[in-house]
C-alpha cells in the first residue's frame, strides 16, 4: 500500500531467442528496460558489445504510424462520428488483433486516400484565405468606380492612394486647387486607420500633385494585376469563395463517407505502433555477435513470473535490490478505494522511490475537506449521481477514471456535510414553502447551522488542521526513524508536538479543566526549551545559538499553517450564502405561476453557477491543503513513473 518495491534484473541471452523473449516480455508488460548506452563508455563493454538498433527501420515505421494516426485524426474531424464526452479506447479481442484484417498495401492505400482528401481541403483553405485577403484589400475602395486597370487617358493621369486618418482633406483640396487649378481629388472611403482617395490630373502636372499629396502623408496604392471595377471584383471573389466552400464541403463529405475505413486503419496503426515499439526497445539492448544483454526494473511481485519467462527462453539472469544511489522508477499501489486519490498525488509529482506515498493517509482528509467546503447536500447529490452515471456509461481509464471517481467520493462527502449543516440547495425548502405554500417548513441541520455558530465550525476546522499537520509530521518522523535518525525525529517533530499541544492546552484548555492551562504551560515551556537547545545541533559555533532561535521562530509557520484551515469555514459559508442569495432572488417575483417559473429559472441558473464555482474552489483548496500544509512537512518528490515495455496504445485496449 504505497510505493512498490522494485528489483533490478540483468539478463544475458542467445540472439536466436531474442525475438520470442521480447514478444513475451511485451505481453507480460511489467518490465521496464533501461538504457544501456552508458555502459559502452567503459572500455571493457565497448570492446565486445554494441547497441542493437536499426534506426532506419524505426524511422520508416514511425513515419507510417504517424501518417496512419493523422488519417485517423482527419476521419475524426470530418467524419460523421459522434464525439462522446470522454474519449475511451476501443476494446478489441487480442486474437483479432494479431492479424491485419486487410493487407498492408490496402491499408496504405486507404491512408493515402484520406490524407489526399485532407490535402485537398488544405489547398482549398489556402485559396479561400487568399480570396479573403483580396476582399479585405479591395472592400474599402468599393466606391471607386473606375476600372482598376485605368491609369489615365492620353492627357490625364489617375492615381489612387491612402492618407492617414485625421488628415484635413478640405485643406488639402484647397491647396491643390490653388496650385494646380485643374485637378479632381476625391475621398472614396475611410476606416479607422486610413482615408482612401483618388486623384485625376493633367499628365504634365502629375509630379507636382504627388509632391503636394506626399506632404500630407499620402502613399500611393497600386492595383497591379486587377482588371474591372472594385464592385465587379468583389462580386467575382464572393462567387469564387462560394464555389470553394462548396468544394470543401464535398471533400469533407467524401471523408465522412470513408469513415468505414476507420476500424481497419486503427488496427493497422496499432500494429505499426507495436512494431515500432519493438524496434525502438532494441536501442536499449546491447549485443555481441551471438548474444544480447538487457537490464531493467521489475516490481518485486512480478519477479517469479518474469523469472519463468526468462527461464523458458534459456537466459542467464540475476535479480538484485536497488543500490543506494540508483534512480528507481516509481509505481504506486493502493487499495482500490484509495486509487482515485492517487490523482492528487500524481498531479503534485510522484514521490521519490525512497520517499513515502501518503495517498491512503490523506484520502479521507481530502474528501472531508472537500465536503466541508462545498457543504450542500443538494450539490453533493448532483455530483455523486453525475459521476456515478459517467462511471457506469464510459469505460474510463487512467487519470480521467481517477478524477471522476475522486469527485464521486467528494460528492458523497458533500452530501454528508451538507446534511450535517442543513444545506439542501441552500434554504430552498424553507423559501419555497414560505412563498408558495404559506407555511414555515425548515429542514433542520442534523448537527448545526454554521451561520448560527461559526465559532464552532472555526474550531472544528482548525482542529482538523492540527490533526492533519500532526500526521504529516508523524510521517516525517517515521521516515527519519526508518533511516535510523531517531534523534532527529525527537528534536524536529517530538518537541513540536509537545510545544503545540502545550500551547493549545495553555490557551484553550481552561474551558475543559482548570488544571489544563498549567500543564499546557509547562509542556510548551519544555517543548520550546528543547527546540531552542537542539535547533542548532547541525550548525557549528555561533550557529548553534542562532539555529535554536530560528527554530523557535518557525512557530509562526506552524501558526500560519494551522490558520490556513480557516478556509474550510469561509468557503463553506460562501457556498451556503450564495445559495441563499440565489433562492432569495428567485422569490423576488412573488408567488403564483409566474413567480414559480421565475424561481425555477433562477434556481437552475444560479445553483449551476454556484456549484461550478464552489466545486472548483473546493477541489483547488482541498488540494492546496494537501500540497502546502501536509506534503510540506515530509514529502520527497521527483520520482520517475514506472514505464514498462508493454502493448499499451492510444486507441485500442486489448482483451484476452
Amino acid at each position: 500500500m504505497s510505493i512498490v518495491n522494485m528489483q533490478r534484473v540483468a539478463v544475458i541471452g542467445l540472439d536466436t531467442e531474442k525475438e520470442k523473449l521480447m514478444n513475451q516480455l511485451m505481453d507480460f508488460g511489467a518490465v521496464e528496460l533501461t538504457d544501456q548506452s552508458e555502459k559502452l563508455s567503459e572500455e571493457i563493454w565497448a570492446q565486445t558489445a554494441s547497441v542493437d538498433e536499426d534506426r532506419e527501420k524505426v524511422i520508416s515505421l514511425e513515419a507510417k504510424a504517424n501518417r496512419a494516426e493523422q488519417a485517423l485524426e482527419v476521419i475524426d474531424r470530418y467524419g460523421d462520428i459522434k464525439h462522446p464526452l470522454f474519449r475511451t479506447r476501443r476494446a478489441v479481442k487480442k486474437s483479432q488483433m494479431d492479424k491485419l484484417i486487410e493487407g498492408e498495401e490496402k491499408n496504405e492505400k486507404n491512408v493515402d486516400y484520406i490524407l489526399g482528401l485532407n490535402d485537398r481541403i488544405h489547398s482549398i483553405n489556402e485559396k479561400i484565405n487568399k480570396l479573403i485577403q483580396d476582399e479585405a484589400f479591395l472592400s474599402p475602395w468599393v466606391n471607386y468606380d473606375l476600372p482598376l486597370e485605368t491609369e489615365g487617358t492620353e492627357t490625364t493621369a489617375v492615381f489612387t492612394g491612402v492618407l492617414p486618418v485625421g488628415t484635413d482633406t478640405e485643406k488639402l483640396n484647397a491647396r491643390l486647387e490653388e496650385e494646380i487649378e485643374r485637378v479632381l481629388f476625391k475621398v472614396v472611403g475611410s476606416d479607422k486607420d486610413l482615408i482612401y482617395t483618388a486623384a485625376l490630373t493633367p499628365k504634365e502636372r502629375q509630379e507636382d500633385v504627388l509632391a503636394i499629396l506626399k506632404q500630407f502623408g499620402f502613399s500611393q496604392t497600386a492595383f497591379k494585376g486587377y482588371t474591372q471595377t472594385v464592385g465587379e471584383n468583389l462580386k467575382r471573389i464572393a462567387g469564387e469563395k462560394d464555389v470553394l466552400e462548396k468544394q470543401k464541403e464535398e471533400t469533407a463529405a467524401e471523408i465522412a463517407a470513408a469513415a468505414g475505413m476507420k476500424g481497419g486503419i486503427e488496427q493497422y496503426w496499432y500494429i505499426l505502433t507495436i512494431m515500432r515499439k519493438k524496434e525502438k526497445i532494441r536501442t536499449k539492448l546491447l549485443k555481441t555477435r551471438k548474444t544480447f544483454f538487457i537490464e531493467g526494473w521489475v516490481p518485486e511481485k512480478c519477479v517469479p513470473k518474469a523469472s519463468a519467462i526468462l527461464e523458458e527462453n534459456g537466459c542467464y539472469y540475476t535479480f538484485r535490490d536497488p543500490l543506494e544511489d540508483e534512480e528507481v522508477p516509481v509505481l504506486l499501489h493502493n487499495s482500490s478505494a484509495v486509487v482515485p486519490f492517487e490523482a492528487v498525488t500524481e498531479m503534485y509529482s510522484l514521490p521519490d522511490y525512497r520517499g513515502f506515498d501518503p495517498t491512503s493517509i490523506f484520502a479521507l482528509f481530502y474528501a472531508v475537506f472537500f465536503g466541508m467546503m462545498l457543504s450542500d447536500a443538494g450539490y453533493g447529490i448532483l455530483m455523486a449521481v453525475g459521476c456515478f452515471i459517467v462511471l457506469k456509461k464510459f469505460n474510463l481509464e487512467g487519470m480521467t477514471y481517477k478524477m471522476i471517481k475522486l469527485f464521486f467520493y467528494c460528492g458523497i462527502s458533500t452530501i454528508i456535510w451538507g446534511a450535517l449543516f442543513g444545506g439542501w440547495f441552500g434554504d430552498i425548502v424553507a423559501v419555497f414553502s414560505r412563498t408558495f405554500l404559506g407555511k414555515e417548513v425548515v429542514l433542520q441541520p442534523i448537527w448545526f447551522n454554521p451561520l448560527d455558530d461559526p465559532m464552532k465550525l472555526l474550531i472544528l476546522s482548525l482542529a482538523l488542521g492540527i490533526v492533519h499537520i500532526f500526521i504529516g509530521m508523524g510521517i516525517k518522523a517515521y521516515m527519519q526513524i526508518k533511516e535510523g535518525k531517531w534523534l532527529d525525529a525527537v528534536c524536529d517533530e517530538g518537541f513540536w508536538y509537545i510545544t503545540i499541544l502545550g500551547l493549545i492546552a495553555w490557551l484553550g484548555g481552561g474551558t475543559v479543566s482548570t488544571a489544563l492551562p498549567k500543564v499546557g504551560m509547562y509542556m510548551s515551556i519544555i517543548g520550546a526549551a528543547g527546540l531552542l537547545l537542539t535547533g542548532g545541533r547541525h550548525n557549528k559555533g555561533f550557529g548553534k545559538i542562532t539555529g535554536g532561535l530560528s527554530n523557535i521562530y518557525s512557530i509562526t509557520s506552524y501558526m500560519s499553517d494551522i490558520l490556513s484551515y480557516a478556509r474550510l469555514l469561509a468557503l463553506g459559508l460562501a457556498t451556503g450564502v450564495i445559495a441563499q442569495v440565489v433562492n432569495t432572488m428567485g422569490t423576488l417575483f412573488g408567488g403564483g405561476f409566474g413567480g414559480l417559473i421565475a424561481l425555477v429559472l433562477i434556481f437552475i441558473l444560479g445553483h449551476a453557477l454556484n456549484l461550478a464555482i464552489n466545486a472548483l474552489g473546493a477541489f483547488i483548496h482541498s488540494s492546496r491543503l494537501q500540497y502546502v500544509e501536509f506534503f510540506g512537512k515530509f514529502y520527497l518528490d521527483g520520482g520517475e513513473p514506472f514505464d514498462p515495455f508493454r502493448r499499451k496504445t492510444k486507441y485500442i485496449k486489448l482483451e484476452d
Binding site: 498531479m347 451561520l451 461559526p454 490556513s564 480557516a566 478556509r567 469555514l569 469561509a570 468557503l571 459559508l573 460562501a574 450564502v577 450564495i578 442569495v581 432569495t584 464555482i613 472548483l616 474552489g617 483547488i620 483548496h621 488540494s623 492546496r624 500540497y627 502546502v628
Partner: protein
C-alpha cells in the same frame, strides 16, 4: 435626520464590500487577455483557459456575499429598513471593509498569477493544475478577508 446616520454607514459598508468586484473585474480581464493569446495558438485549450480565467472572479463574489448579508440584516431587501444607531452602522461599515479592500488588490494580483499560469498551460498543458494552485495561493488572503468580514457581521447585535 442628519446626513449621516447609522443606516447610511451600514449601506456604505455594503457598498464598500461590493467594491471587491473592481479587483475581480481587473483580474479576470488580465487573465482573459492571456487566455485569448493561448487560444489563438490552440483553440482546443478553451476549456482549460476558461477555468483559469474564472479564478480571480471569486473576490467579486465574496464582496457580493458580504454586501448581501449586510442588506439582509438591516432589512433593506425586505423593504423596511431597521433604524440603526451610529455605532451599529459603523460596525456594518467595519464588516464591509476587509473584503472590499483586500478583494480589490488580491483580485488584480490573482489575475496576474492566472495570466502566468495560462502561459504555463500553453507550453505544458499537463502542468495546468500546478498553475491553478499557484493562482489559488493568492486567493487565500481574500478568503481570510471574507472570514473576517463574516465574523464581524455575525457579531453585530441589533
Amino acid at each position: 435626520m442628519s446626513l449621516i446616520d447609522g443606516n447610511t454607514l451600514a449601506l456604505l459598508g455594503a457598498a464598500i464590500a461590493a467594491l471587491a468586484g473592481i479587483g475581480s473585474a481587473m483580474g479576470v480581464g488580465i487573465a482573459g487577455q492571456a487566455a485569448a493569446g493561448v487560444v489563438a495558438e490552440d483553440p482546443k485549450k478553451f476549456g482549460k483557459t476558461i477555468i483559469l480565467q474564472a479564478l480571480p472572479g471569486t473576490q467579486g463574489i465574496y464582496g457580493l456575499i458580504i454586501a448581501f448579508l449586510i442588506m439582509v440584516k438591516i432589512g433593506l431587501l425586505g423593504g423596511n429598513m431597521i433604524e440603526l444607531t451610529i455605532p451599529q452602522g459603523a460596525y456594518f461599515l467595519a464588516a464591509g471593509l476587509p473584503i472590499g479592500l483586500v478583494g480589490i488588490w488580491s483580485g488584480i494580483a490573482q489575475g496576474k498569477a492566472a495570466a502566468a499560469a495560462l502561459q504555463l498551460t500553453a507550453k505544458r498543458p499537463d502542468q495546468m493544475v500546478k498553475g491553478i494552485i499557484y493562482t489559488a495561493m493568492v486567493e487565500t488572503y481574500a478568503i481570510f478577508a471574507l472570514l473576517v468580514s463574516v465574523l464581524i457581521w455575525l457579531r453585530i447585535q441589533l
